[in-house]
């Protein structure tokens, strides 16, 4: 039996990712911080809760949704929590070099 909260999470296919959508998703400081956190230590997974962000729960949910719907992250339900993974391989395949250049930027 699939958990209820895991059903409705839509993830775009790799070959349908739009460049403008990804760029827009990455153009917000809060979301960029999330992506950097997920990229640390090489493709680790982290719960939505495990980020120190200067926004409330609702805003947090909003940003994670933008990242998921643009194809930057994958979300998976695990109990009451949601585990996030950076779709590094898919992004590298669709937009080679983009993620690396963004992550290495200071």
């Amino acid at each position: 039996m699939v958990p209820v909260m895991a059903r409705a999470l839509h993830h775009p296919a790799t070959d349908t990712l739009e460049l403008t959508g990804v760029l827009h998703a990455l153009s917000d400081p809060v979301r960029l911080e999330i992506v950097r956190g997920l990229a640390a230590e090489g493709g680790c997974e982290r719960r939505c809760n495990a980020f120190a962000l200067p926004v409330t729960k609702s805003t947090r949910t909003h940003h994670f949704r933008v990242l998921r719907e643009s194809g930057v992250i994958e979300q998976r339900a695990e109990g009451t929590a949601v585990v996030n993974r950076l779709r590094r391989k898919e992004l590298d395949s669709r937009f080679p070099g983009l993620l690396d250049s963004v992550l290495s930027a200071r």
Copy 2:
């Protein structure tokens, strides 16, 4: 004597370019088309007029300004026209690989 229209064009210094600003500038289809046009044939310069864009003159001016103020392009007055140049070298220096990955994306 410097032409009047060339005075007020502000260009941010290379080391002050902000990643989120550049990403936001590149996240619009019209502006992305402008950047692609400027990147064609290796660093050519083109007038604002020399782009086939689905927007009016005012909107055109707006997009060119966003690109300039984020540091993506340089604008220079030449008679009544404005000549645009992609700040490729500066972008490559500040955000290595970013522009190339965006331009090679389809």
